[in-house]
Subunit: 208 residues, 2 copies
DNA sequence: CAAGTTTTTGACCGGATGGTCAATAACGTA
DNA sequence: TACGTTATTGACCATCCGGTCAAAAACTTG
């Protein structure tokens, strides 16, 4: 019997995500969000609770999406585990060097969080650990396949790849171009081989 | 004949840096800055022009300091070029896993900048290139020393290290501890060797 | 069609924010 | 010691912010 909502929650969160990705949490105004979502201030408030809570929702969505994407890229596939990581990193290099000025909400949350207890921090940290877990799983498969030394530290390598990805994101934001970012990704992958990897055939040759 | 200033500019910029490092640009209030620097609002305004301009000054200082530090760490020394990079990365691992919640102004500027034309962006990008240049120089020495393959792409490796450093900073901010961060640094360094490097003797063994 | 529940709307609010102004103080110089 | 110049001080301001309130609207069910 209650009056039904005129909006779909997930759509609203999506629109809000966009705003936050462009402006960040502190710099985004409630007005920006109202304009982007099409909801009234009060409706927003009823449904989510406030700017910060809405950001948190968006952050969770971002985290889930990132997890899903990496999971898909590194998960069961025809390609060998190490090849999947390679493909993923190269894809990230392209994504991060795209022209839009967005920064992942995860990174934003990390930077804009006010302390370790901040939900922004805890959510983000959990997300990072989850991501590392996925990498670790894939690396473990590689090790079992004999594509990685028996004594390789799969856990720290996993975190390493998360770090590299984050760094690439920041560099992309700084304006580093696709070619360089791709070269960086290929460099990063050398950790897995000891020997230099064959050049990517679908990407331009690395340049400084 | 004019009344002399009661403060030293560089001190003020330093104090402001602290505030910005903790709160960021958008979240830092003029009041925070007034309190931290000890100057009155108007004096601040006279000397620097406003919050953003003051941040820019702080950012430049941060950039110079970072450049100086890396330059010193990778520059002329007794140690071999590759050993210097190793030492620097390990030192960064410790610094980034320290308990204070600070984020470098460079990273903040990157995230809080409003566009490619934003002075925050241009300054940061220049800083990154400068940093990469220092790495490149060191790597070039290593190559001449025969410690790096003749065909190693020194330029992209340099950017790679900047990316890794940035990523480590973010992970440290997320609460990743010293042990893990050190392991990540050691992983990152494997790029240079092809073979696994000897474990650091002055650091705890890596763990996931 | 009336009751009941929840959303929506739009006006409203206290407070904080970045920035400004005008008066005063402090200093070097003549 | 008086002057000119600049720094400092503290009050002041318009605006915008996140958030709230109360009334109207919309829909389902009985």
């Amino acid at each position: 019997m209650p009056r039904p909502r005129k909006f779909v929650e997930s759509d609203v969160v999506s629109s809000a995500s966009e705003v936050f990705a462009v402006h960040g949490l502190a710099a985004a105004t409630l007005d920006d969000l109202v304009r982007a979502t099409g909801l009234g201030k009060q409706s927003l408030y009823n449904a989510f609770g406030g700017k910060r809570e809405l950001f948190l929702r968006a952050l969770s969505e971002d985290r889930e999406e990132a997890t899903r994407a990496v999971s898909e890229a590194l998960g069961h596939d025809e390609a060998l585990p190490l090849e999947r990581i390679r493909g993923h990193l190269l894809r990230m290099a392209i994504e991060f060097s795209s022209s839009d000025r967005r920064v992942s909400l995860t990174t934003r949350a990390l930077v804009e969080s006010t302390g370790e207890e901040d939900p922004l921090s805890t959510t983000t940290k959990a997300g990072i650990e989850q991501l590392a877990g996925i990498y670790a799983q894939c690396l473990e498969h590689a090790r079992e396949h004999g594509d990685l030394p028996e004594d390789a530290n799969v856990q720290s390598l996993a975190v390493y790849f998360v770090a590299v990805t984050r760094g690439m994101e920041l560099l992309g934001r700084a304006g580093v171009g696709r070619g360089v970012l791709t070269a960086v990704a290929l460099d990063a992958l050398r950790v897995l081989h000891g020997q230099r990897m064959e050049e990517a055939d679908d990407f331009p040759p690395t340049r400084g």
